[in-house]
């Protein structure tokens, strides 16, 4: 009997995942021995994320493949690991004061964020469909729990249940799509699938195409692209605000990274089959997201719809499938992370116990009571809309130039018109802040951790807008 040889594994390249797993469990164990005060857990989690970031930079000779080409550490995954660590760290910081205020006193909260981050790193680094599936599941299950972590709050419960049901459904689609692709190519490894497609050795073309469509549906659910976005507004509204911010950035970035690997890197030759479909999804996401946001009077729902429209822009990068698209995806997600955490940070600041102040009216006259907060909010909103000199503009410029390079002029024109529509509702918030009289007193407790997150985000948004060069160079380095 021949011995089964162990597949080659590069442990150093796996360090980020291992560190995250260790720290996640450490948080769980430490939680057993401490009392009500959870600040130690915050400290451990942040240390873990910092170590992850450092360890992700350990490898110089990229890409490194492990597990027979099922897991890769390349430029894309390192950059995304960086984004995940930043966004998770911001999410933890933003939660500290919020959790105290809302009485979320569970240690699992922090370990779930770490495990979710672990899932994201796995997802962004996997080059095998089974690994992709595992990554998505780790992320999703952590998020189901996080969304419902306020057990006494019915809204939170509703959000969790809705997210779980629809998410499970989407997973089904995804898995089915993967099965069909496996059936028609005989492998789950993306590299080999690409080879099979390149040599035109697909066993059954209809099965393959069906699989691709199902994959798009599955990923569409995960990133909340129209027409699979229906869960997003309810879940965003119901989940605790820091969790909302968290799931608007990291998991979405990870899913898009995997989506990019499958579509743009593995199946560019099949683009005739998925390109049109993805264009439709992208255009619909932009339109429905933006038009939907106009109708909203609740800031969290507004931001949920706006995030749907941002997915529309991001899909353009995947459609472009050229050398610029991966780097533009990275830059956009980093910029988006800062903008989203900044905005949600201010949303959290405005609330207090039992009174979240999520209606747009609650922002009336903010500029006259708290000019600095209103100004930072304005910066984040205009950046989301894509106004220079802010990060959102450079990010959009990046994606649009990737698309125009391939000649997608109409798609880009639709995207910029959507940016104009989006200005309408971002301006509406600004109108409330600057041009209306206050309707009631503001009770803003300037909690230090939340302020720190806002300050970091504001710095990031402006810095990436005015001096984006280092980050662009980093993103384009491959």
């Amino acid at each position: 009997m021949e011995p089964i040889s162990a597949p080659p594994i590069d442990l150093i390249s796996l360090a980020p995942v291992l560190v995250l797993a260790v720290f996640g469990m450490m948080v769980l164990i430490t939680d057993l021995f401490i009392g009500k005060d959870k600040s130690v857990l915050v400290f451990i989690s942040l240390t873990g994320l910092l170590m992850t970031t450092i360890s992700s930079l350990a490898k110089y000779n990229l890409p490194v493949y492990s597990f027979n080409g099922a897991y890769v550490v390349d430029h894309l995954s390192v950059f995304f690991t960086f984004i995940f660590c930043i966004s998770s760290a911001l999410a933890i910081l933003i939660s500290v004061d919020y959790n105290k205020r809302e009485g979320i006193n569970v240690g699992e909260y922090y370990s779930l964020i770490l495990f979710c981050t672990l899932g994201m790193v796995l997802l962004a680094s996997s080059t095998d469909m089974i690994m992709i599936f595992l990554g998505i599941e780790i992320i999703s299950i952590s998020l189901y729990i996080l969304a419902g972590i306020q057990r006494k709050n019915t809204k939170s419960n509703e959000a969790a249940l809705k997210y779980f049901l629809l998410g499970a459904f989407a997973t089904g689609f995804l898995l089915y799509g993967m099965t069909l692709i496996y059936g028609s190519t005989g492998t789950t490894k993306l590299a080999i699938i690409a080879k099979v497609i390149g040599e035109n050795k697909i066993l059954s073309e209809p099965l393959m195409l069906m699989g691709v469509v199902l994959l798009i549906i599955g990923f569409g659910f995960k990133v909340a692209a129209v027409p699979f976005h229906m869960w997003a507004p309810d879940v965003y509204q119901g989940a605790p605000t820091p969790v909302t911010a968290f799931m608007a950035v990291g998991p979405k970035a990870a899913s898009l990274a995997a989506f990019y690997r499958i579509m743009s890197e593995t199946m560019p030759e099949l683009s005739y089959s998925w390109e049109t479909l993805l264009c439709v999804v992208s255009v619909l996401s932009m339109f429905i997201g933006n038009l939907g946001a106009i109708m909203q009077s609740n800031i969290k729902r507004l931001l949920a719809f706006s995030s749907v429209s941002h997915v529309g822009y991001l899909l353009i990068a995947i459609i472009a499938k050229n050398s610029l698209s991966s780097s533009s995806l990275m830059f956009y997600m980093l910029a988006y992370a800062f903008m989203v955490f900044g905005t949600f940070g201010i949303v959290i600041l405005l609330g207090r116990k039992g009174e979240e102040n999520l209606e747009l009216e609650n922002y009336s006259g903010l500029a006259y009571k708290h000019p600095v907060i209103a100004l930072t909010m304005t910066i984040f909103l205009l950046s989301l809309g894509g106004l220079p000199p802010l990060a959102g503009f450079v990010a959009k410029f990046f994606i649009f130039s990737a698309a125009l390079k391939e000649g997608y002029v109409i798609l880009v024109i639709i995207a910029v018109l959507n940016s104009a529509i989006s200005f309408y509702y971002y301006l509406r918030v600004i109108v409330f802040m600057y041009m209306k009289e206050p309707i009631k007193e503001f009770h803003i407790s300037l909690t230090p951790m939340t302020l720190l997150v806002i300050a970091i985000s504001a710095f990031g948004t402006v810095q990436l807008g005015i001096f984006p060069d280092p980050i662009i160079a980093l993103a384009q380095a491959n």
Partner: protein, 520 residues
């Protein structure tokens, strides 16, 4: 570097203002004024040091900004932008003096104005498309805030409309900019958004030229505003505070005409020729329509706002006469409109401060109670009509001369605008200043005070200066216009006729075309 310093000086002032406590109203106003005056005085040195003999960019400064994309911070002035630059600093100063009476959130007001000033100045000096877009959008926010916070009763509507109109236009321009960025990379192998490099090296066939022209056209035509994209203007003007209107009319609209001269003509000369009749007719419609609508306005400010549509129609038709007289006239008319209409808005603002109404029928016989005001108003009104000896005449005369060389028909139609202008301005003047003083509320109106005189008198001086001796102004853009006309000369892109004297140049272009086709 000097130019950069001047451009960011107001922003520096704005940042400094945030440090002054909110209640120190006097200090806030004085600091803002000090920065505006310094900026103006220093910018006059640009004019005196300006080399009139060359069309090259002057006071140039270029440093790499986003090296990965070949984007530079590249600024400079030439004949087209010099006067607009100086006028911007000048009108900013005037506006700040004119805003002395503002009481609501004065610190934020001044910050917005100074930030706006930096944005506008940046637009005029940018020689990099990315940088240009950067400033172009940047100035939107302070203006939006100025209209939306310190404006009239329907200010929110007007502010949002202003923002969205401009945003739609400029976003399509952004697509065009990125397209050019990609095209120049394909053609020359250099990825850059540097305007000078692109102007010299970009070679486009007619079809893409037309599309790109239209994308830029939309952005600038909305800003100018040309008929039928003018509908945001009356709202914005009427709702904006006085100083906001002055800047809006004096500088922001000029950014549109400036854009045509800086981008559309040199980058897409062939398309400019193709679209010349369309733009000429749109301008003529604008001229006549603006004048006719002004005629029936009940509100003084609305009247002035619509007259802007008419005046800017003149500027546009002058630019698209595509000859020396036309473009020179358009450039000087740019300045004239800034002076005359700016002054009209100031004057209307003064009467509004006193009576809190701008309805024409509320007034009558003001000449008796406010003689100084009436004289100033009359001078400005006549300059707006274009009376010989005043600035308006020089501009309109040159423009019509230029247009006449192209088409007598266009010139005839456009001239009717001058007549209508006389009608609406003089009729309004008669109803407000003369007739019987029958409204008791008007009997005790105070005449202009010193501060108000300070804002108006420099403008009146300029009215006569340009009207009687325009040479120092005209000289600044002579060389640049000359060069621009070489660039848009139809010989550069006319199809080759056998034996034509230009066949050599045409052949050159053809060879490049073939090379490009092969490349593709």
């Amino acid at each position: 570097m000097y130019l950069t310093f001047l451009t960011f000086l107001p922003l520096l002032g704005a940042i400094l203002l945030t440090l002054i406590p909110r209640d120190e109203v006097g200090a806030i106003k004085q600091t803002a004024l000090a920065f505006a005056v310094t900026d103006f005085v220093l910018s006059v040195f640009l004019w005196t040091n300006f080399d009139l003999t060359t069309h090259e960019m002057q006071f140039e400064y270029s440093v790499p900004w986003i090296t990965s994309w070949g984007i530079n911070y590249h600024v400079g002035l030439d004949g087209i932008s010099l006067l607009l630059y100086v006028m911007t600093t000048f009108l900013t100063m005037i506006s700040i003096i004119a805003s002395w009476g503002v009481t609501k959130y004065i610190r934020e007001y001044m910050i917005a104005f100074l930030a706006l000033s930096t944005g506008m100045l940046g637009v005029f000096i940018s020689l990099d498309m990315f940088l240009f877009y950067f400033f172009w959008e940047f100035q939107l926010v302070p203006m939006y805030i100025i209209i939306g916070v310190w404006g009239g009763p329907r200010r929110v509507y007007a502010a949002v409309k202003f923002f969205l109109y401009t945003a739609v236009g400029s976003l399509l321009m952004l697509v065009a900019i990125i397209w050019i960025y990609k095209a120049i990379e394909e053609q020359t192998g250099v990825a850059t958004t540097d305007l000078i490099f692109i102007t010299e090296n970009l070679e486009l066939p007619l079809a893409p030229q037309k599309w790109l022209f239209l994308a830029f056209f939309l952005a600038f035509a909305i800003k100018v505003p040309m008929f039928p994209f003018h509908t945001w203007l009356p709202d914005a003007h009427v709702q904006a505070p006085t100083a906001g209107s002055v800047i809006l009319a004096g500088v922001l609209l000029k950014m549109g005409t400036y854009g045509f001269l800086r981008f559309n003509l040199p980058l897409f000369p062939h398309a400019s020729y193709e679209f010349m009749p369309m733009i000429a007719w749109l301008s003529i419609i604008g001229i006549v329509y603006g004048a006719l609508v002004s005629l029936v306005q009940e509100d003084l400010k609305k009247l002035v706002a619509y007259s802007s549509v008419s005046h800017l129609g003149f500027v546009m038709i002058g630019i698209f006469a595509l000859n020396h007289y036309g473009i020179q006239g358009a450039l000087i008319q740019n300045i004239n409109h800034g002076i005359s209409t700016g002054a009209l808005f100031l004057l209307v603002g003064m009467i509004y401060d006193r009576r809190h109404t701008r309805e024409i029928k509320e007034f009558g016989g003001l000449a008796k109670v406010m003689p100084k005001y009436t004289v100033c108003f009359m001078i400005i009104a006549l300059s707006s009509i274009g009376l010989p000896g005043m600035n308006g005449f020089v501009g309109e005369f040159l423009i019509l001369l230029g247009v006449f060389q192209n088409s007598g028909m266009w010139a005839a139609c456009a001239t009717s605008g001058v007549i209508f202008a006389a009608c609406y301005i003089l009729w309004m003047f008669q109803r407000v200043m003369f007739q019987k003083l029958d409204n008791p509320k008007n009997e005790n109106l105070p005449d202009m005070n010193t501060r108000e005189l300070i804002t108006i008198i420099p403008l009146i001086v300029l009215v006569f200066w340009i009207g009687l001796y325009p040479k120092p102004f005209m000289k600044t853009f002579d060389a640049t216009v000359e060069h621009l006309l070489v660039k848009v000369n139809p010989d550069n892109f006319r199809p080759v006729k056998p034996g034509s004297s230009h066949s050599k140049h045409a052949k050159l272009i053809k060879i490049e075309d073939i090379a490009r086709l092969n490349h593709q």
